[in-house]
Amino acid sequence: MDNYGNEIEDIEVNLVIDAIFQSYGYDFKNYFRASFTRRLRNFKVLNNFNHISDIIPFILYDSGNFNKLLNAISVTVTEMFRDPFIYKYIREKVIPYLNTYPTINIWVAGCATGEEAYSIAILLKEENILDKVNIYATDINTNSLDIAKEGVYSSEEMKLSTRNYQRSGANRSFSEYYHTNYGNSILNKELREKIIFNQHNLVSDASFNEMHFIICRNVLIYFNKKLQNRVIGLFNDSLIHNGFLCLGTKEDIRYSDYAEKFIVKGREERIFQKKQQDVEL
């Protein structure tokens, strides 16, 4: 087959990935190449570099620069109540089940700037079970986590959030959950204090607790099959039997070695329930 594309740039991308891995331990080898390359190109342009390989000395000699790169290559695009129909499903089908447990651990993996975790917290509050829930929200991007902890969002964003919220089967007023000041909205203290935000790398870090419900949406799409398999394995290990997993609407457990370990509950919602016992094949 012909070899198209910019072969030199391809080599440079490999070298950057290697430099990051050797000096900082983050492994981007198994991220989808086309998306990752686009982000490196953006970072190159942003810093007025001629070549992607110019990124290498820039990050090797200054960990502050590496942090800039890390934050630039992770995508932070998110929304509250993104895909409202999945929240409706969680409200109606998942929460009543979770409610049968005395305490509940929920993990929002790849939480970006926190919107998804807060959406879940609001849902739990409305179903009156927030008190017995621990919500862990993690991401690789520490800048995003700092924003998440603040719980402050633009009023512009709140408009979209309100619209999504209303479509999620909610019957309260979204404005109950925040206060607006100088064009910014801060979420209620109760919500902000509820969520434990921490850095966690899905590529290399281990499970940190037994979970009843894991939400990881629009993160796996950035990973190739091999890495998706690792991460779904990690979720499988972390979930209790009968625990729930929610992925993004274009993601699936189907391509992993763990497909047999789960029952598909909501096809469109991508909500899966871990089976009672490991099935012997």
């Binding site: 086309a34 686009r38 274009k250």
Partner: protein, 192 residues
């Protein structure tokens, strides 16, 4: 006869009818896979769209899925709200990166990655639309040796998108929808 391995199409305002006009008459055994980014509002109901298209197409209309390898006989559409990319191994990937040219999916993202994956065996077609998405993609397709077509602006409901592409100087052919159909038919070995 043809060495074209993929056709990418970008369409925005008014694009649906033009897509129908070009794609509907293509035969079932058309030998080149087709990939389309059509700007849609994220609230658009997807299921209905494919049912509708499949009553009109001889080819199979479907949403492009993660990992899927491009195959002849299919007309792939980018899912609403996601950028659609083509990897070097000619399979699809998706992302929810920032909008490009105010759009997600963006025509530029599909065209640029397709150019890198298919080089000179790619045909890029830009259709009616009221923005400038696709122009950078067209430039990249040309840079990698592919063939570029723009819908004749006189036939476009909204000519801005094609005019922007034409202004780049990187369009090989300016054609009406019927001419686009005839043009791509000549490259497709639709006999077996």
């Amino acid at each position: 006869m043809s060495n074209y391995k993929a056709i990418v199409i970008g369409a925005s305002l008014g694009g649906f009818d033009v897509i129908l006009k070009i794609i509907a008459p293509l035969p079932k055994n058309f030998s080149i896979p087709i990939v389309i980014v059509q700007h849609l509002s994220p609230d658009h109901i997807i299921g209905d769209k494919y049912n509708l298209l499949n009553t009109r197409f001889k080819l199979n209309a479907k949403e492009a899925e993660l990992f899927e390898i491009l195959k002849a006989g299919n007309v792939y559409f980018a899912p609403a709200g996601y950028h659609l990319l083509i990897e070097k191994n000619r399979s699809f990937s998706l992302n929810v990166d920032e909008k490009v040219m105010y759009s997600r999916p963006a025509i530029d993202v599909l065209f640029e990655t397709a150019a890198e994956a298919f080089g000179n065996s790619l045909i890029g077609i830009i259709l009616t639309g009221a923005n400038r998405d696709g122009t950078n993609g067209i430039i990249k397709i040309k840079e990698f040796g592919g063939l570029t077509i723009a819908q004749d602006p006189k036939t476009a409901l909204s000519p801005e998108m094609v005019e922007s592409a034409i202004d780049s100087g990187k369009i090989d052919h300016i054609l009406t929808p019927t001419e686009i159909y005839n043009f791509i038919m000549q490259f497709a070995d639709a006999k077996n």
